[in-house]
Amino acid sequence: MGFYSSVEISASGLSAERLAMDVIANNIANANTTHTPGGGPFKRQLVVFAQKPGGAPETAGDPNDIEKLGQGGVEVLGVEQDQSPDRLVFDPSNPDADARGYVHYPNVSVVKEMVDMMAASRAYEANVSAMQEARNMTNAALNILRS
């Protein structure tokens, strides 16, 4: 409770958002990758966030709700592949064209990835602000001793 749990919670947010940024950057870099080691085009990846267990009060008026608050934060459950269909482009002359003449491109929309990147970046900055304010509050309380 207090300073340290608040900083840990913000730190969990920072690492989660940084992972999201990495995944988004990877998606954008591979937006046109038609070959992957597993065969087939690159599939868009997404990060699954979840609140850390024990971070929310179970019922209203839970007597331990303040302690549980201190155990909160976000965790990444995993990185999953987006199973939506590939982007098909009709190009029979391409060596990667399938039987019907379509080339399979990744199901990545660069515009959507940019929007997600902005959201992750803003969330990252907000987590940094939260950590800084926690530190400022603690310093102000410590100043009481100094006079």
């Binding site: 409770m1 009060p57 602000s129």
Partner: protein
């Protein structure tokens, strides 16, 4: 925050130190909301510590506990209900904002609350410092 049997330096010192503790709890709630801004299904939390502060001070609307004074040189305390211990509650905000991924955290609002809460906490710390300085002046009989 303080045991009723322990020495108290006055209601203002108690209120201020409870205020700082409450602001710490609110800061933790805000940090969790910000960390979970992109978590699907997350509902934002807050701590209602200001109401708990007012309750801990006691209400001045009760009428049997006024202090009897027999000289106008005594300081008459206002009648007060029995003060309750400082006990803030975590509240979960279940309203749904229209977000596709389902978290109801507005990161701008949380950042604004962050700044406001931090300013409040630092103000309370300053005022607490003033209280202690006054006590120190009275004890050492010296001004600064």
């Amino acid at each position: 925050m303080n045991d009723v049997n322990s020495v108290s330096f006055g209601p203002t010192v108690d209120t201020l130190s409870n205020a700082i503790a409450g602001a710490d709890m609110q800061q933790t709630a805000i940090a969790e909301n910000i960390a979970n801004v992109n978590t699907p299904g997350y509902r934002r939390q807050s701590v209602s510590f200001k109401d708990a502060l007012a309750a801990a001070e006691g209400d001045s609307s009760g009428d049997d506990l006024g202090m009897l004074t027999n000289s106008d040189r005594q300081f008459a305390l206002g009648s007060q209900a029995a003060p309750q211990p400082f006990d803030p509650q975590v509240q979960v905000d279940t309203t749904d904002k229209m977000r596709v991924d389902g978290s109801n955290v507005d990161v701008d609002q949380e950042t604004a609350q962050l700044a406001q809460n931090s300013g409040y906490s630092q103000t309370m710390a300053q005022l607490l410092q003033v209280q202690f300085m006054r006590l120190r002046e009275a004890i050492t009989e010296q001004t600064h």
